[in-house]
Symmetry: C2
Subunit: 195 residues, 2 copies
């Protein structure tokens, strides 16, 4: 079975998008990969078995035609309060889940087979998984910019400190790619088991 990985691009000041979810340039390395960014993109495409995202991320991606020629041809699990009546066209398989992050993870795991389940946005979903103790790993593409204003990845985290082990650091053009293993978080793990 693969890992459950939170994978986000973040500025040095912890921002993942502008105040109204505007794009602030944090994925340029992905869209036009040079140097070692190429191998990071290839690895992600090869090892991701399913993606989990929030409804807002889905809506915004759909609006921006991000699912047209989607390089991730794997099931996309969308956490939502209500299932949309029409689904964006294209080859991306969507699974809409209305009963929470654990159900979403179960369905993503079933869809992913041996590959990884990747939680890719937005901040609210990321926070829920961070606090749940369900993550095996965190991947951060750290972009050297201080954005100043915007949505923070690690905001309002209501959990005891989450200890990580740095398992990989790759310094690529315009971005540093981190892999962290979630070391221990007994309190959160046990509360997740209780649910």
């Amino acid at each position: 079975m693969g890992n459950v990985i939170l994978d986000m691009a973040m500025s040095l000041d912890g921002i993942i998008a502008g105040p109204n979810d505007e794009y602030v340039g944090l994925h340029d390395w992905f869209f036009d990969p040079v140097g070692r960014n190429r191998e990071i993109v290839d690895e992600s495409l090869a090892t991701t078995g399913a993606l989990i995202m929030g409804r807002r991320t889905y809506d915004m991606a759909a609006e921006q035609d991000a699912f047209v020629d989607n390089p991730y041809n794997v099931p996309h699990v969308v956490l939502t309060h209500t299932v949309p009546k029409t689904v964006v066209k294209g080859s991306t398989p969507f699974i809409f889940v209305t009963d929470g992050i654990e159900s979403a993870l179960d369905q993503a795991r079933a869809a992913a087979g041996d590959k990884h389940v990747v939680i890719g946005g937005g901040a609210n979903i990321a926070r829920q998984y961070l606090q749940s103790g369900l993550l095996d790993a965190i991947q951060i593409a750290l972009v050297p910019i201080v954005v100043g204003k915007g949505i923070r990845l690690f905001d309002k985290i209501d959990a005891s400190p989450i200890e990580l082990e740095t398992t990989r650091v790759i310094d690529a053009p315009g971005v540093t790619h981190f892999q962290f293993r979630v070391v221990k978080d007994n309190k959160r793990k046990s509360s997740a088991h209780e649910q």
Copy 2:
């Protein structure tokens, strides 16, 4: 002339101290340097010509006897509203400055000679220098932990995005050492010159 460097240890979620300035373990690599942390510590001690800090950082360090056997035997410029009547004992030379960050920098530069001026805390002073356009470089010791609650380094930054260039990444035991060059920030630079 040396550079003006903001040098801080920060958690992955951007925190530099607990909510009430408590130590949250971010300098363990400094106090007990193993592996490549040793060369980072040695480099810092050898190239720092003067330190700038806020009054609160000074008071807390004094209270904790951090200036006893202080490894940085260079002038410490303390930004303060009022000069304290008695100064902490020891060999550390202190310069108390009451007329703002530019004056503090001028005095630190004069004291540093050819070496670097290092801005080492706290968050408020760091923010002022970040916004001033006076920084040449930022050094971040990124510690793999999500602390959750505390004082953030990059909070309430009121400036256009600050673009950085990653000039060095060293993955050491328990911490990743970043060096960034401040690339450009014309707006802030010109407003600093106007003062």
